[in-house]
């Protein structure tokens, strides 16, 4: 069964610089292999268990925080997490988005 296309919107904050960066992509506009890589990765992420847990890295400073929105027809999921809590399955998704990221104006 073909996977459902989706839009992704990412906002990265924090880090040493503290300057927000934003990125978006639409899997319909990507090369087939990159779209497939993203869709497959998202198939394996349990979004219900992706969360920003302050206790997970209590003394960490200057790490990145991510706000990721996943828009499908009729449904939008939004997750927030620290880079130290990023599920491994999400890494290729974040990498694809960050290649397109720009400083927020």
């Amino acid at each position: 069964m073909p996977r459902e296309d989706l839009e992704l919107h990412l906002r990265r904050t924090g880090g040493l610089a503290g300057l927000p960066m934003v990125a978006s992509l639409d899997t319909r506009e990507l090369a087939a292999d990159e779209a497939e890589r993203i869709l497959e990765a998202l198939d394996h992420v349990d979004l219900a268990h992706v969360e920003d847990r302050p206790g997970a890295a209590p003394g960490a400073r200057d790490t990145f925080h991510y706000d990721l929105e996943i828009r499908r027809p009729g449904r939008t999921d939004a997750v927030r997490f620290n880079e130290r809590q990023m599920p491994p399955e999400l890494k290729p998704v974040i990498r694809s988005l960050m290649r397109r990221a720009q400083l927020a104006t």
């Binding site: 924090g14 040493l16 610089a17 503290g18 890295a57 960490a60 200057d62 990145f64 400083l103």
Partner: protein, 350 residues
């Protein structure tokens, strides 16, 4: 020669610490080397043991009559795994072929030197905590961070926002100062206490650079990250002299009238830090001379002031700096006047 450290350890960290603290010199040195070379879990446990089991009122010198840093640098080889990578340089070893390794090692040394020689603080925890650097972390990683467990991670940058982050001695000082704050005021990383946390790291970051270069307040650039920003953030990441003017994206306020209310970045911890940063700059340049002397000492007193607690706001901290000035130099001293001028410049009423 490089080797990967063992994931499991036979000698308990408590024993190593006891040897390090009380053993013969050669045994102490060996124990300290082992403490410095161990795995993530070991170092984390040592940190906890050191912090809780060895807590004398005065610094404990772990390595003889003169305190010294205990540095280990690991090469992460662009991996984003947080386990220690390949050991490439430990304390006392000659320089490696990799400039990032040597920059981290030297930057740790410069930071240790400022805190020991000026403030009589023996490393991050004042107990001789080993300084562990992880270089080449991640692929084109645009950041450096302190993990709260005695490790500092350095990316190589993407060449646009940042270049190799080990090049900046002030950034190294900034990250290690987060550790010092963690072991002193332990300021919560949110809102005003979080912005103070960031500002203290910027202040001690520039002091590390000024002390290493022998620059007076008038000679210093008062910039953060000038050696590591890429073209998008040129000429610097932040400015204590002119918050908001460091680069085209710099949105730091320079006074309380422009305090930024935001839900992002812990309530703008990297933004509103411009306010106390500028107060320090005005204090230091008003006094003149070396900023690590009276100004640095007053700020160092403030992070250890019992009235400064984890949720302290700018005003509480400002009062602590004034209290230090009055106690050390006198209520009507030039130093106390300079502290008042510093906070007045950022429109914070003491």
């Amino acid at each position: 020669m490089t080797h990967r450290c063992a994931p499991h350890c036979i000698v308990p960290p408590g024993l190593l610490l006891r040897v390090a603290a009380n053993g013969e010199r050669e045994h102490r040195d060996a124990a300290l080397r082992t403490l410095g070379l161990d795995s993530t879990f070991r170092v984390a446990r040592v940190e906890r043991v050191t912090r809780h089991a060895l807590a004398p009122a005065t610094p404990r010198l772990l390595s003889g009559p003169v305190a010294m840093p205990h540095r280990t640098i690991y090469d992460q080889q662009e991996s984003d795994a947080t386990q220690l990578g390949w050991l490439v340089r430990s304390e006392g070893q000659p320089p490696a072929d990799d400039p990032a390794v040597n920059e981290a090692y030297e930057g740790f040394g410069d930071t240790y030197k400022l805190f020991w020689e000026v403030f009589k603080r023996n490393s991050i925890d004042d107990q001789g905590m080993p300084l562990v650097g992880l270089v080449h972390y991640g692929h084109a990683y645009d950041n450096a961070f302190w993990d709260g467990m005695s490790h500092m991670f350095f990316g190589d940058g993407d060449g646009v926002l940042f270049t190799r982050l080990t090049k900046a001695i002030d950034v190294i000082g900034h990250e290690l100062a987060h550790g010092v704050t963690q072991y002193t005021a332990n300021l919560v990383y949110q809102n005003q206490s979080g912005a103070l946390n960031e500002s203290i790291s910027d202040v001690f970051g520039v002091l590390v650079e000024q002390y290493a270069k022998g620059q007076t307040a008038d000679q210093a650039s008062w910039l953060i990250g000038a050696d590591v920003v890429g073209p998008a953030l040129s000429p610097a990441l932040r400015s204590l002299k002119a918050p908001g003017d460091a680069n085209p994206h710099d949105d730091q306020p320079a006074d309380m009238d422009h305090f930024v209310v935001t839900g992002e970045d812990g309530g703008g911890v990297h933004t509103n830090s411009g306010i106390p940063n500028h107060a320090f700059y005005v204090t230091a340049t008003t006094i003149g001379g070396n900023a690590w002397e009276a100004p640095g000492i007053m700020w160092y007193d403030a992070i250890r002031d019992p009235k400064v607690h984890p949720n302290s706001d700018f005003l509480t901290f400002a009062k602590a700096t004034l209290r230090s000035a009055q106690q050390r130099f006198g209520a009507q001293s030039a130093e106390a006047d300079a502290v008042r001028a510093g906070w007045e410049a950022v429109k914070l009423e003491l």
